[in-house]
Each structure stands twice: as C-alpha cells, then as structure tokens.
C-alpha cells in the first residue's frame, strides 16, 4: 500500500504493508528510532506519537491509518521558531555567540555531547528540571505533554496528570516530570505575553538555547 501522510511537517510517501504497526513503519522503514517500544500492548506509552496533534500508541496503530493524517514524532519537535534546525542567523548551527556549540555562557544549563540542536521548550524544561533519567519514556512523555500544552497552555496539576496518565516511567517517580511540564507551560505563557526585544514572533525557542534559568 502506498501511504501518503504528513510526517513532522513534511509530506511523506512510503510503500508499506497496511497492517504494519505504525511503530515499525517509523522505526524500521523510515529510520526514526526516537519512538520506542516498551510493551507492544498500549499499556506503557513509550510508543506515543501525535496523530493530528492527539496522542496515540503507535504500537496499536496500523500504518494504513496514517493515510492523509498529520503525524508528529519526537524527531519533529522543533524550537518555537518552527525551523527544523533552528538556524536562523546564518551560522551552521544557529550559534548566537560564535562558539562551536552556541552555549551562551559556556558553563551552560545543558552541556550537549555532540552537536546541540535547538530544543523545544518542553525538552529544555525536562532537562532543566531533571525530569529525564534513562530517557526511554521521555519521547512519549514529551509528546503527550506537548499535545496537552498545545490545547491547554495553562494546565493545573490534575490536567497534567490526566494527560500523562498513559505514560509510565520507572526511573523518576514523576515529580520532576510534572515540574517540567509546569515550567514549559509557564515559559510558554511568559513568551506569549512578552516577546523580548529583537526577537520577532516565534523566536522564543532560540532565545532559550543556552540561557541560564
């Protein structure tokens, strides 16, 4: 079956068995291994992707159902400026200060091993709050949180819990995950209310790279 759907903002065409799991289509056929398999039964949420912005378990989703839909995986998370690699200022990796990895203060709140992509506020928040340990649940967790914040920018704790109730984590105890979502929500609200000087619409994501909090 020829599948045509929007994947992380790009129109994608791929030939696949209709009953191939979307999880396997992403990981094995399209090489996007950010989405993980934790249980294969829709019981853990590690395989969460967004389908038209809504979280679903890709281990339960036959590839045929992606036809004509809008799919977002963790690889598709962008900085708020909407560009895939965030490089708006002409340098190779969007570094603001001319240093190799763009760390604004050198000591940086996150030190990247290897090239440092511009991070979505949720990704920044998860790092800053210590909400990542082994990282296996993280892609699914972040996507569930993104879906929540895209629809409800100012959720209370109960709403965050409900939105993440289908994502299991065995490492963190969840407390810092809640804090990370709250932080990202807060940053988003602040950014929406007060765009900084010299940053036009949509630059708030880049503003946060390397920034100390």
């Amino acid at each position: 079956m020829l599948l045509e759907f929007e994947l992380n903002g790009k129109q994608t065409r791929v030939e696949a068995e209709p009953t191939l799991r979307a999880l396997d289509l992403l990981r094995d056929v399209l090489g996007l291994t950010g989405t993980k398999e934790g249980c294969g039964r829709g019981e853990c949420g590690a395989c969460t992707i967004l389908l038209d912005g809504m979280p679903v378990n890709s281990c339960l989703l036959y590839a045929a159902k992606l036809q004509g839909r809008r799919v977002t995986t963790i690889e598709g998370l962008t900085a708020e400026d909407g560009t895939e690699d965030g490089a708006e200022d002409g340098t190779e990796d969007g570094a603001e200060d001319g240093t190799e990895d763009g760390a604004a203060d050198g000591g940086g709140d996150h030190a990247c091993q290897g090239d440092c992509p511009p991070l979505h506020p949720l990704q920044e928040a998860f790092l800053a709050e210590g909400a990542v340990q082994c990282g296996f649940c993280t892609p699914g967790m972040i996507l569930s949180a993104k879906s929540l914040l895209d629809r409800n920018p100012d959720p209370d704790v109960g709403e965050i819990e409900e939105a993440l109730s289908g994502n299991l984590c065995r490492c963190t105890g969840y407390g810092k995950i809640i804090k990370a979502v709250q932080r990202a929500a807060g940053d988003g609200i602040k950014a929406a209310r007060e765009p900084g000087p010299g940053s036009g619409a949509g630059k708030s994501g880049r503003r946060q790279r390397g920034a100390t909090r």
């Binding site: 079956m1 209709p18 009953t19 799991r21 294969g40 039964r41 829709g42 019981e43 949420g45 969460t48 389908l51 809504m54 979280p55 679903v56 378990n57 281990c59 339960l60 989703l61 036959y62 045929a64 159902k65 036809q67 569930s144 879906s147 819990e161 409900e162 939105a163 109730s165 289908g166 994502n167 299991l168």
Partner: protein
C-alpha cells in the same frame, strides 16, 4: 492478513459479503483488535477498516434520542460533551454515567484511538461503557447485507468477548432513548492503581425522580431506576433485585443500605488475576453508595 478500507458503511458491508471464506473482522480504532491479533487470540484473514465511514461517526440528537456512531472515538465523545456543556438540553449532550465510563477507559492514547463501538463489540466484562449503556436502556443498531436489526444493550452480550453479532454484521450506532436522556446517572469504577486502570469492578446507575411536591428532591420517590455492574459476571449485569428495592420508593438510608446489600448478593464475581471475589463483593457496595449518592444529591443535569 488482508486489509481493506471502507469509504462508507455500504462499502464495508459489501466488502464483507464478497469475502467468501475469509475470516473477517471490522476494524475501527484497533486498540483491542491489534493486541488480540498480535497475541494470536484472533486470526482474521481480512480486516475491513470502517473508521473513515462518516455515517458511523455521527453524534446526533433526534426525536427518538441520542444516536452515537459506533466509530466515534472515546475522546471525540468526551470532547463533544465538553463542547456541549452549558448549551441547551436539546443539544447532543451525553448522559453523565456514559461520560464517566468513557473517561475511565485506559489512557489518553487509548481514548484518542479507541471507539465506543469497539469498547462495546470487544465485550470485555470490565468494559467501562457497557454498564452505562445498559442503565441508559441503550439499543444497538446492527447492519448486515441482509438489512438491519436493533438489539437492546442488555441482550447484546453473551459472555466474555462474545456478542450476538453475526459474521459480516457491524454495529452501526448506539441509541440512547429520549426517555433516558432525562433523569440522572453516574458511574464508578475501581482498579489496582489510580492511573491507566482496568476495572476490577464498575457500576452504573440511572434514575428518574417523581414530581416534587415539597421542597427539594429528597422527599420525592424514585420513579424508575436501572443498575448495572461490570466485571462481576461473564457479561455486564443488570441488577434487578436491587432496582426493585428502590423503584417507586422515597430513598432513605436504610433502603439504600439494603439496596447496597442486594447489589452485593446479586453479583456473581470471581477471583482472577485482577483481584479477589471477596474484594469485588465488598467494594461494589462502596461504589454503589458513592454512585447512588451522586445521582440523588446532584442538582441540574
């Protein structure tokens, strides 16, 4: 395993009819089906995907009642209720016990993919929409190449994962009659933990109070009541003896307690990997007390 996508209901039925000798399964969201296929519990040779069929995804309030398309996802059902909140009663608002049952299903991920029809046709005794549909006197419209028939929810389930659906027959829609859109209803369930829970036991109640003569509703009799429980028998169970105790009476604490006792006696729970028979029998009385308290006290819808 072959896969066909039906553009509409008619095409789905045709595809099924033409698939002589195939083991056919209709696919909506697939949250139950894909697992059963992967585990080898089901072995269809043809899947007909009906999730795109528009007529199976309608939610309409008409003269006969509220008609819910079987392929409506659980999340869409909940979302439409949120959208309808505050709107006039004639809009497609959904009875509370069904919303509470739907909200109790799995996780957001399951709710965004799974459908109400899927929950019904999977016919797991712990399905969270089943007891609500029974107390709402819902009826199911089944379509096949031979025509259509209507089956009351109570008669639809035959056993765990078994229904009256014949090969090639689809659940098209669920009707909640206008008579049961009024009144009050509620649902409770309990599981091992707080999040992403499978019901160890669940219970739904719908009732209608008589006309009030004095102040408040406390002193008005229960005109009609329906009680059903899930995960307490091979099928979702209507609890008629408990209903009898409360029908046409003015509810008072001793009566409610007796009804709770009747609920406990009437269910036929077993011990399984989810919990013990004893816990089911004990906790259902508590859930019943909670749920009946909600329908009796609550003002408004």
């Amino acid at each position: 395993m072959q896969y066909l996508r039906a553009r509409n209901l008619k095409q789905a039925l045709l595809q099924a009819a033409e698939a002589a000798g195939e083991r056919v399964k209709f696919l909506a969201g697939g949250t139950d089906l894909t697992v059963q296929i992967a585990e080898g519990a089901l072995d269809p040779t043809l899947l007909i995907d009906i999730s795109a069929a528009e007529e199976l995804r309608r939610l309409e309030r008409g003269a006969e009642g509220l008609r819910i398309g079987a392929a409506l996802t659980i999340a869409e059902l909940l979302e439409s209720a949120r959208a309808a909140a505050g709107k006039p009663a004639e809009s497609a608002s959904i009875p509370r016990c069904l919303l509470q049952g739907a909200a109790a299903i799995g996780s957001p991920q399951i709710r965004h993919l799974g459908t109400i029809g899927g929950n019904v046709c999977n016919a797991s005794p712990c399905g969270d929409t089943l007891a609500p549909l029974i107390v709402l006197a819902a009826s199911f419209t089944l379509r096949s190449p031979r025509g259509s028939r209507v089956v009351p929810a109570e008669e639809f389930f035959l056993g765990p994962k078994a229904t009256v659906l014949e090969p090639g027959e689809i659940l098209e829609s669920i009707l909640i009659p206008v008579s049961h859109l009024s009144g009050r209803s509620a649902f409770r369930m309990i599981g091992k933990r707080n999040g992403q829970v499978i019901s160890q036991v669940n219970i739904a109640v719908w009732l209608k109070r008589g006309r009030s003569e004095g102040a408040g509703t406390i002193s008005t009799p229960i005109e009609d009541i329906r009680i059903a429980a899930g995960s307490v028998a091979p099928i979702p169970l209507r609890l008629k003896r408990a209903e009898e105790l409360l029908r046409s009476v003015i509810p008072d604490p001793p009566l409610l307690q007796a009804a709770a006792g009747a609920v406990q006696e009437e269910i036929q729970p077993i011990s399984d990997v989810r919990t013990s028979q004893a816990y089911r029998r004990s906790v259902i009385a508590s859930l019943f007390t909670d749920v009946i308290g909600e329908v009796l006290e609550r003002e408004g819808r």
